[in-house]
Symmetry: C2
Subunit: 436 residues, 2 copies
């Protein structure tokens, strides 16, 4: 074997980044793999737009099936995105005995079982480093580097757009809307950035990480999701008075018979390594039973970092092909993974600490009425900040609780809706990660 | 293949951590590898001491050659440390066709070429994740996850002992000696902790990282080393006034025809992700041409994290053996690495910014005489703090420079030795990592 042939389906941002690396770093890649990695064909509906990279003539086609039918192609890189067509192409490529590399997080999160199963059935490799955390090799670390461990916790800042928005809100006290506008202007967010700020993108990535960490798929639809659009600079300021910052976290814990999996804004202690992950950076914090806490950090998106992940997967498969191996590591890193999905604990059963910001009338006895309802629901207060200053006819009463049950918190907040001393909806933010 | 057999040479801290994981996580390991990973023999001079783990009878021997001669053993884990004997056992195991896993950083740094060469000659795999950064899978990330990139920079906090000492000096203004005593008392440092605090241990690890990142060995003896024992809480306080903290950094940059490789205390901007790596934690910051900056963080030492790295290597080889492959990734991750060593740039040619703390007599004209000598040597001042308060008959004059050449700095400092207004040796610390 002196050449590994690649077909790329999808010539957008990631596809062109991938081609650029394969061209620019051709020599070093060949030296590391032990043979040339050659792009034989690229399929895209638009084959005329200039991507700013010299494309050898005859490489482009509008028909992805040309790639799948080409017997000389060893690996298909699905970089088109979307669900239906991407899935069809991946399944057909596997049927044709080709290895598959994909960056398609939505597809793996929502239809992973079918795709993992097809890879095993056809005895081909499936690699998807680019689906989570851009260029950060976190999938590889979970499948290989930490493979000796029972993973206990995963905590990720998995969406660069929302992390950029929260960073700007923190550093310059920008309101949410202005931070979003800025992110769109700078090209860090789409317009509107719905899937980024509502937690869907992070939940897709969490579903993938959880599946590999625990060796079995999770039902994506059961992952609890809450976005960042309701957060205010006030909450960020109060959080920092308590010694915390605000991040959109994707969190999973192995509970043995089921798993926590949730995406929501969370308060993180300022001295935690995750607190310094700012701007468009991503980070994944993983705690294993022997290795202890680990962190992986880097650019979570973009042409070049994502291309780096795709090419590292192509090289991994290239090395296998050169050695005559079809598949060394199965998709979920277990040779015979359990077929059943890992059930996700309903969010109502979560136990954690909470931040509350009550908007209260400036009257005596308010705190006692609030704390009375909390106490009735087994929620005990850890710390309170009561600001004397009245804003819009109300004063903020801000507190942190000890660990409490989410269902109790919801019940308490429902009761408080009838309190005439509260003037607005209560802001609730979960607190994560103990202080170090 | 339904069983992979392992022989362990060296039953100390790392050896017992390794055995503990293989016993405790046996099921999950077998499920991930696809077959049982079985320890057939453990060799150590002391086979009577209780390691706190149940050792199946008949497993222990005082003769390492029993392992090497056993034809049923596939992988030898060299966990004894030291140079001469460890090298002999590794070379003999390879001659016998066995794969080798080692945690021996000193051996790889000082005799790597011979060992890498032997692995290639005998067509066996050599894995050494545990040699750098404890349980952090940084070797795997360099060899695989970032393999599409030309690595530009590596910057590591690679020694947990010295990082613990510097963290204590920073957080509680402890003098160096007291921080060392505390580290020894808590078991974070040996007594005396010479190789940890003088930079030798970090230089060993840097040599290994550089070899993989650039695909060729470096001459270990040419790595510049400077320890932390001369640093004072005063310097840490001044650094923080300039917006920096102090870390013992291992730094390497690819200069094309040669490489920077040096270990010394360095000032790191407080908003850099490396600044929050505290206590016994390690972190490795890697910048690649496409992936951009990445960080890998975790416990850098200890029985369990180091055992986690050893077992991940054993599993990696187990997966290969199960698939009938001898070696997929060569030691330095290049199939035909250049045989010549990568030359290291002499420290005199380094260009960076510097921190100086002069101990000056409290007299007019001191600053002008100092800055005159600096100017004569092409060193320009970026910022100065002059403390009015006299301490022990002198006042500190503290400054940061723009980028300057190390040889010019040395020449300037030599000139200053003759200045009668300076009362003591000048403290010099290099500044690393631009502010983010």
């Amino acid at each position: 074997m002196n050449q590994v042939n690649i077909g790329i389906i999808g010539f957008g941002t990631v596809g062109s980044g991938t081609l650029e690396i394969l061209i620019n770093n051709r020599e070093i890649i060949a030296s590391r793999v032990g043979c040339e990695m050659v792009v034989k064909k690229i399929a895209d509906l638009d084959i005329t737009r200039d991507r700013g990279i010299p494309v050898p003539s005859g490489l482009l086609t509008t028909d992805a099936m040309e790639i799948i039918r080409d017997p000389s192609i060893h690996i298909v890189a699905e970089l088109m995105g979307g669900l239906t067509d991407a899935k069809a192409f991946i399944l057909r490529a596997m049927e044709a005995g080709k290895h598959v590399v994909t960056a398609n997080k939505a597809l793996l999160a929502e239809h992973g079982r079918e795709i993992y199963g097809a890879a095993e059935k056809h005895g081909v490799s499936l690699a998807f480093e680019a689906s989570v955390g851009g260029g950060i090799p976190v999938i590889r670390s979970l499948r290989e580097g930490l493979s000796a461990n029972r993973i206990k916790t995963i905590m990720g800042i998995l969406n660069g757009t929302s992390n950029y928005i929260l960073t700007r809100m923190s550093q310059d006290e920008l309101p949410y809307g202005r931070a979003v506008e800025e992110a769109i202007r700078l090209g860090y967010a789409e317009d509107p950035p719905t899937l980024d700020v509502d937690g869907t993108d992070a939940a897709h990535k969490l579903a993938i990480l959880v599946s590999i960490a625990f060796g079995r798929p999770v039902p994506f639809k059961s992952i609890y999701r809450e976005g960042i659009d309701h957060l205010t600079p006030d909450d960020i300021r109060f959080a920092s008075e308590f010694g915390y910052c605000l991040k959109l976290l994707a969190i999973s814990r192995n509970l043995g018979d089921r798993v926590e999996a949730r995406v929501h804004p969370a308060m993180v202690p300022l001295d935690h390594i995750m607190a310094n992950v700012n701007g468009v950076y991503n980070a994944i914090y993983i705690d294993g039973d022997f290795v202890g806490p680990n962190l992986y950090y880097g650019h979570g998106a973009g042409r070049k970092p994502t291309g780096s992940a795709v090419v590292s997967d192509l090289m991994h498969l290239g090395r296998q092909i050169r050695c005559g191996v079809k598949s060394i590591i199965p998709p979920l890193a277990h040779v015979q993974p359990p077929r059943r999905e890992f059930a996700i604990q309903p969010i109502e059963e979560l136990r954690t600490s909470y931040y509350f910001r009550f908007s209260a009338k400036d009257r005596p006895g308010v705190l006692s009425r609030i704390s009375g309802i909390l106490g009735d629901n087994d929620i005990s207060i850890y710390s309170v900040i009561q600001k004397g200053r009245e804003v819009d006819g109300s004063v903020p009463v801000v507190m942190l609780t000890h660990e409490a049950k989410e269902s109790s918190v919801r019940k308490a907040l429902e009761h408080m809706e009838h309190l005439d001393v509260l003037t607005d909806k209560t802001m609730t933010i979960r607190v994560e990660a103990s202080k170090q």
